[in-house]
Every structure is written in structure tokens, then in C-alpha cells.
């Protein structure tokens, strides 16, 4: 798997809070927030994860949110089995970030090509 960024429209980073200064959340399905960054304009928009506290299928619901918001790349700590299948089927790439920094830090690392692609 290549470490180079693909042509994308939006990047999504799982986060503990709103905005690009929020700390990155390592879990995908149960992330409290998703921060979507438009690659072209640089605009960031935060969406609360309504299904975070849910029962089963949270990973799939979160993958649905990626599809609904046109994310082509996800940056997160780890992705469970079902979410993995859904993201893969949707052609969404996933990069791993576990350095404990902010959304901004994670995006910078991704652009520098230092993140491992896990899906």
C-alpha cells in the first residue's frame, strides 16, 4: 500500500472535540466528532457522531457518515472489522494516526506522507 496521498475532495479526522485544534480520537466507530476538511478550500466542518453511544453497528453508521459527507480519506487510530468492510466497499482510504496530537497535526502528517495507510 502506498504512503502517497490519492486525489481527494475531503479528508475526515476522528476527533474528541470540534474544529482543527481538537485532539484526535483514536477510535473510528465511537468517535464523538468527525472533522471534515475540504482539500481544495481548506475549510473545516465538524459533525457530531450521533451514533457514538449506540449499540452495535456503530462502525457501519460512522462509515455511512463518511459516505454522506463525501470523505475520500479517513485519518483515525483504528477501524473495526465491519467499518473496515464498509469503508473498503466505498473506496475510502484510511490512514493511521496515533501520535496524540490535534486534527491539524494529523492532516499535516498525512500531507507529509508520514502516515501508514491501513485500508
Amino acid at each position: 500500500m502506498s504512503n502517497n496521498p490519492v486525489d481527494i475532495m475531503k479528508i475526515c479526522v476522528t476527533a474528541k472535540g470540534s474544529g482543527i485544534d481538537a485532539q484526535v480520537e483514536e477510535r473510528f466507530g465511537r468517535a464523538p466528532y468527525f472533522v471534515f476538511i475540504d482539500e481544495e478550500s481548506g475549510d473545516a466542518q465538524t459533525v457530531q457522531n450521533a451514533g457514538a453511544g449506540g449499540a452495535g453497528g456503530v462502525g457501519i453508521k460512522s462509515a455511512q457518515t463518511m459516505v454522506d459527507n463525501d470523505a475520500k480519506v479517513v485519518i483515525t487510530g483504528q477501524v473495526g472489522g465491519n467499518a473496515n468492510s464498509a469503508l473498503s466497499a466505498a473506496g475510502i482510504a484510511v490512514y493511521e494516526y496515533r501520535a496524540g496530537g490535534s486534527v491539524k497535526d494529523a492532516v499535516a502528517a498525512y500531507r507529509a506522507g508520514t502516515l501508514a495507510r491501513i485500508l
Partner: protein
């Protein structure tokens, strides 16, 4: 007469009591034994032999890709996250689906129909002229075996004497098995774990309105705490099976102490009479 064998803690000897109770009763009159521990059924190990199988199915959605407009209504409706609607197709995760039928109802384009998939099976055996064994077996990988338990109980409906063996614990599968029974035999062991879990199980059985009695298995003679609890709760202790390597050996190899060791056929026949009398007392 429907007797259910339950316990809070696993491994106390439910299946042993159920199998021996059924075997000894079958020496006198027809009896149906039903294995409702559909995740890990064991009774067929005590009564090996040929069996006829009936499938148990559940319904899951089938998506017509031509009618589907990928509007997303089904995915938004599903509270369990079993459906993801992508740009070009619909993804369905059967292991998360609860078979509620909702997606088919909400689809605005009649693109969803329901189809049956295998959930498990009911195996039926006749190991003795007067013993009918019904085993509910859930498929490995399924999460919820409730419909298999229901099918197993249904297969025995109408038989005069039915003994149900439940799974361990106190959650959904046990409740499904115990409810509607005339009496429950709680099998426990006189250890801190056994007593702790007996209390939980007794509470659940009582909340279902089923009278109960107790069998203490692997008894070492020091069951004061357990006996005290049973007395307090008005739970009669009808049988104590001692801890003995000889008994354990028979059971571990799939044998029946009521058949293979002296004195136990009488003991289990006596247990049956006392359990039945427990029903009459409550009425």
C-alpha cells in the same frame, strides 16, 4: 407438565440433572427432553443416535438493485447499523440484522423483500421408547438464538411431560426458556460463585412467576450458606449430589448415573415426584 432446569452459574450440572431426570422418568412414563441451550447443546451427547432435522430460519432483507435509488431511507431507519448505503450500492451486514422487517416497510420504491436464511435447526431423536429428545442448535456465528429456543419449545408443545434444559446465566435465552414453565429446578454448587449466581437466578425465575426448587450438585457437606439462603427464600432443596470422582467420571464420559451407578435411578425418580408436588403446592 413443563419442568425447566436452570442455574445462574455455568457448569453446575443442569444438563446432568436434566438428562438423568428424563432417563429415570422414561422408565415409567413418556417424557420429552428439550435442549434449549442452543449455543452449546449437550444432551445429545448423553443420548447419541440418529436424528431428523428441521431447519430454523430468520428473515433478512434482499435488495433489488434495479428498483433501488440509493435514497438511504433503509440505512437511516435501521437502528442496528446493519445497512450502509453507498454511492453505487447497498451494503448489508446480516450478523447485525435483528430481522425486524423495518427496512422493507420504509423503502419508498419496493426495492426490499425479505428472504429466509438459516439460523439453526431442531434435531429430533428417540433414544428410548418413552424418551423423545429435541435439541435446539443455533448456527455458529449467529448472535441471537431466541427463535431456535422458541422452535424447540414449540416442537414439544402438547407433549404430556416436558423437561427443558436451559443455558447458564440469567439473560434473554434463559428467560425465553423458563417462561411459561410449571416449575423450575435450580441446580447449584455450594461455593461462593454458585451461591452468588443462585441468588440471581432465583430472582429471575421468581419474577417470571415460576415456582422453584433446588438441587445441590458436587456437594461437599458444607453447604450451610446455600441451605440458609434456600430456607430464607422458601426454596426446598430436593436432592444433593455429592462430589465424587466416580460420579464425575461417569458424567464426563457422557454416561448417566441413574443408569450406570446403583441407587441413582431411585433418587431421580424421587426428585421427579417432589418437583411435581412443588407445582401442586403452589396452585
Amino acid at each position: 407438565m413443563q419442568i425447566v432446569i436452570a442455574s445462574g452459574k455455568g457448569g453446575t450440572g443442569k444438563s446432568t440433572v436434566a438428562a438423568n431426570l428424563a432417563w429415570s422418568r422414561a422408565q415409567a412414563a413418556p417424557v420429552t427432553l428439550v435442549d434449549c441451550d442452543v449455543e452449546e447443546p449437550n444432551l445429545h451427547l448423553f443420548f447419541p443416535g440418529g436424528h431428523t432435522d428441521t431447519p430454523v430460519t430468520r428473515l433478512v432483507p434482499a435488495f433489488d438493485s434495479e428498483r433501488c435509488t440509493r435514497c438511504g431511507d433503509c440505512g437511516r431507519f435501521c437502528r442496528f447499523g446493519a445497512i450502509a448505503v453507498l454511492k453505487d450500492r447497498v451494503l448489508f451486514f446480516p450478523e447485525i440484522c435483528h430481522s425486524c422487517g423495518g427496512c422493507a416497510l420504509v423503502c419508498p420504491n419496493a426495492a426490499i423483500t425479505e428472504r429466509p436464511i438459516s439460523l439453526g435447526r431442531i434435531e429430533e431423536r428417540h433414544p428410548l421408547p418413552d424418551l423423545r429428545l429435541i435439541s435446539g442448535v443455533m448456527n455458529e456465528g449467529e448472535a441471537v438464538g431466541i427463535p431456535v429456543i422458541q422452535a424447540a419449545k414449540e416442537a414439544a408443545a402438547g407433549d404430556a411431560t416436558v423437561i427443558l434444559d436451559s443455558s447458564p446465566g440469567t439473560a434473554c435465552p434463559v428467560i425465553e426458556t423458563v417462561k411459561g414453565s410449571d416449575v423450575c429446578v435450580l441446580v447449584t454448587e455450594a461455593t461462593p460463585f454458585g451461591l452468588h449466581d443462585l441468588k440471581l437466578a432465583a430472582e429471575v425465575v421468581s419474577s417470571l412467576g415460576v415456582p422453584a426448587c433446588v438441587v445441590i450438585n458436587r456437594s461437599c457437606g458444607d453447604e450451610d450458606e446455600t441451605e440458609a439462603f434456600c430456607r430464607e427464600q422458601g426454596l426446598p432443596v430436593f436432592l444433593r449430589i455429592p462430589f465424587s470422582r466416580e460420579i464425575a467420571a461417569v458424567q464426563n464420559r457422557g454416561g448417566l448415573i441413574s443408569r450406570d451407578l446403583p441407587g441413582w435411578q431411585t433418587a431421580f425418580a424421587g426428585l421427579y415426584e417432589q418437583v411435581v408436588s412443588r407445582v401442586e403446592v403452589q396452585r
